[in-house]
């Protein structure tokens, strides 16, 4: 008992610095944001006295709802596309020789060596009506000259996928690399076709990677701000752009905080799902232990 207590204290001491760090720089600011969202504002950008729900009045606004739905839609599509592209890539890389695996993973990380903003500006140039992609497609008669490729939802989604795909591939590859590919042989041996085996055996086998990739892509996409700002323009605002406008242009901190609070809640949805999934898995394990006791 004493030993356990000592161990408990030791554990707390070890986690103390990181816990304090998270408390001061993460939890308290987040709570402040939530707190400010319930305050009043004055025309000079200061936070007023008293509490009110007026900052949340924007939520019922149709234009906000459109932005919220667009944000969720783009995040969802981005996650799905990243998974659809990332899973076959991770599978292919994991099946290669070790030497090639390392080289290809290096190639996937190479884009990070260039600044993120510069890469987004590169896409602006590429997608410009006079740019390489527009010119090529026009030359091939696939689109009429002068078709706008920039400043629409498609452009935002394209650049989102481009930016987040490596983040999806990394956890997917990490899981696929640990996967025992003989299981696929076993599945085919038992009569299931190649694609069937891939779905019934490989995908459950890398479920940890799929969950990580989903979180890593979905959550940052919800809060993305630079990409829709640069390639989306005013017609494709996402939640992040609206928050920035409230804070920088309107200098209305409570309204910006209210939108941020909505975003925090949206971010927490996948977390809650994950916790629920884990809980159900744990209870499954407990029943296995119970079966053992019988």
């Amino acid at each position: 008992m004493k030993k356990d207590l000592l161990k408990n204290i030791q554990e707390k001491l070890i986690t103390f610095p990181s816990f304090t760090w998270l408390l001061i720089f993460f939890l308290i600011p987040t709570l402040l944001v939530v707190l400010i969202s319930f305050r009043t504002s004055d025309p000079f950008g200061n936070i007023g006295v008293g509490f009110t729900l007026s900052a949340y009045s924007e939520i019922t606004n149709m234009s906000f709802l459109r932005i919220l739905i667009r944000t969720l839609r783009l995040s969802f599509l981005n996650t799905i596309i990243c998974l659809l592209l990332g899973i076959p890539v991770a599978y292919a890389i994991a099946r290669m020789e070790k030497k090639w695996q390392q080289n290809l993973m290096l190639l996937i990380i190479v884009p990070f060596w260039t600044n993120f903003l510069i890469r987004i500006f590169a896409w602006k140039t590429l997608l410009h009506p006079e740019g390489f992609i527009g010119q090529t497609l026009t030359f091939l008669r696939l689109i009429p000259p002068g078709t706008p490729l920039l400043y629409n939802e498609g452009a935002v989604l394209l650049v989102l996928v481009y930016s987040f795909l490596p983040f999806a591939i990394l956890p997917l590859y990490a899981a696929a690399e640990k996967f025992d590919f003989q299981l696929l042989e076993a599945a085919r041996d038992l009569g299931s076709s190649g694609i069937q085996s891939f779905i019934t055996i490989f995908l459950p086998g890398i479920s940890v990677g799929i969950i990580s990739a989903t979180m890593i892509v979905f959550i940052p996409t919800l809060g993305s701000y630079v990409i829709p700002d640069l390639v989306g323009g005013p017609t494709c605002e996402m939640l992040g752009n609206r928050i920035a406008r409230r804070v920088f242009t309107d200098r209305d901190l409570p309204r910006g905080s209210a939108l941020s609070t909505v975003l925090i809640l949206a971010v927490m949805i996948p977390f809650l799902i994950q916790i629920l999934v884990r809980k159900s898995k744990k209870s499954g394990k407990i029943s296995a232990v119970e079966a053992l006791d019988k």
């Binding site: 042989e185 076993a186 599945a187 085919r188 041996d189 459950p204 086998g205 079966a291």
Partner: protein, 408 residues
């Protein structure tokens, strides 16, 4: 039915290294056939070719009269038990076994009925809802077999299925495998590097080396009359001697001159003539060893030697006896070790003797195989005894010798 599964001139190489070289083999329906050989001999490749995980560069595979060479694994009526079992970790035991019939589109009721039957066969009814991670190695092994058998394959392929188990469990699983085979009557193609496993389980076996088949036969045939020094050395222990034939006596026996020993007599099973070079092999357990000089006999070879080394392995003691420039391996079975056996010790002078019918001539001879034998290794010789006793009793001359040996 003869020739149920036929390999026809099969070849397969990986990046210019030949794993299987022009192999032809016919396996009968319902038999347990073993592919035995050291690692890298191509036995697993042959099995994978049969399962459909690899495509041969050349040759055909015929199963029950149909050419299956080009069929993908899921279309072949064969199932594999993998060395690492390859159970699906996210499924329960029941789901693992049900995988095949489910994929085949059987109704839920049918699947449940068949799975229950399989669970009863492997005696794991109470573990059905556990995940593979929560059962023991031997249980996993049984699940892997059930998962394959439930599909009623025409041939069950077993890739070193017992390699991951400890000795006692391996012996038990060997018996269980044999019982399962008796119950289901399916053809088993069994890959192993363990000669004990192969000999105790197989109806017939093929000894493989470097991508080719050295010899095909029943365990008795292969042990008692190996054709090459590789087979002789790989299956059990043996002693190699080389020399040349000096003359033929009694029409069927050859007098052979061995450097450093003198003349010995050996049954002339290769019909050699005087002057031919010859390689002779004698199994250790067929050499009788005594501290007193045995009686002369026309067809018994008697040599004087010195005990150079001995290893006690429980049921018997293994001896290395030097005679001239040759080192002979022999063994002495213990019956009354603690009471009145007085076994020879190091540096004791002993006589070794064996009957001319008990040594045999080899077709091929390789230095490398002899090297295998010079390293003293402790193996369990008792597994080969049953065959041995049968053979010995049919040879009248030896009976008295054997009796003497055991009684001493």
């Amino acid at each position: 039915m003869k020739d149920f599964l036929i390999f026809e001139n099969l070849s397969k190489s990986y990046s210019n290294v030949a794993a299987v070289k022009n192999i032809s083999l016919a396996i009968n329906k319902g038999e347990i056939f073993s592919l035995l050989g050291p690692s890298g001999c191509g036995k697993t490749t042959l099995l994978r070719l049969c399962a459909g995980f690899e495509t041969p560069d050349n040759g055909r595979i015929i199963l029950d009269g149909a050419d299956i060479t080009a069929l993908p694994p899921e279309k072949r009526k064969v199932n594999t038990v993998f060395q690492s079992y390859a159970l699906f970790p996210h499924m329960t035991i029941r789901e693992n076994i049900a995988f095949g019939p489910k994929v085949a589109g059987k109704s839920k009721k049918e699947v449940n009925y068949e799975v229950d039957k399989m669970l009863a066969l492997i005696q794991l009814e109470y573990e059905a809802d556990r995940k593979p991670a929560h059962i023991s190695g031997g249980q996993k092994q049984r699940v892997a077999i059930a998962r394959a058998l439930i599909n009623k394959p025409q041939v069950l392929l077993l890739d070193e299925p017992l390699a991951a188990l400890d000795l006692k469990l391996r012996q038990r699983m060997l018996i269980e495998l044999d019982q399962i085979h008796d119950e289901v009557g399916i053809t088993f193609l069994f890959v192993t590097h363990d000669q004990t496993e192969a000999m105790s389980l197989s109806d017939r076996m093929a000894v493989m080396d470097k991508g080719s088949i050295e010899q095909v036969g029943t365990p008795v045939e292969i042990y008692e009359s190996p054709v090459s020094s590789f087979t002789a050395a790989f299956i059990g222990d043996t002693n190699f001697l080389d020399g040349w034939v000096t003359k033929i006596i009694d029409k069927e026996y050859a007098k052979i001159n061995i450097d450093g020993i003198g003349k010995i007599i050996c049954f002339n099973d290769r019909k050699l003539k005087a002057g031919d070079p010859v390689h002779v092999s004698i199994r250790p357990e067929k050499i009788n060893m005594s501290k007193t000089e045995p009686e002369e006999h026309r067809k018994v070879n008697i040599l004087k030697g010195v005990v150079e080394n001995m290893v006690y392995v429980g049921t018997s003691t293994k001896y290395w006896v030097r005679s001239g420039e040759w080192l002979f391996t022999t063994q002495k079975l213990h019956r009354r070790y603690l009471l009145d056996e007085t076994p020879p010790k190091w540096d004791d002078d002993v006589w070794i003797s064996w009957h001319a019918d008990d040594c045999y001539m080899l077709e091929k001879y390789r230095e490398a195989d002899e090297q295998l034998l010079t390293i003293p290794d402790i193996e369990e010789p008792e597994d080969d005894e049953p065959n041995l006793d049968e053979d010995e009793s049919s040879q009248e001359n030896i009976i008295t010798d054997e009796e003497n040996k055991h009684e001493k």
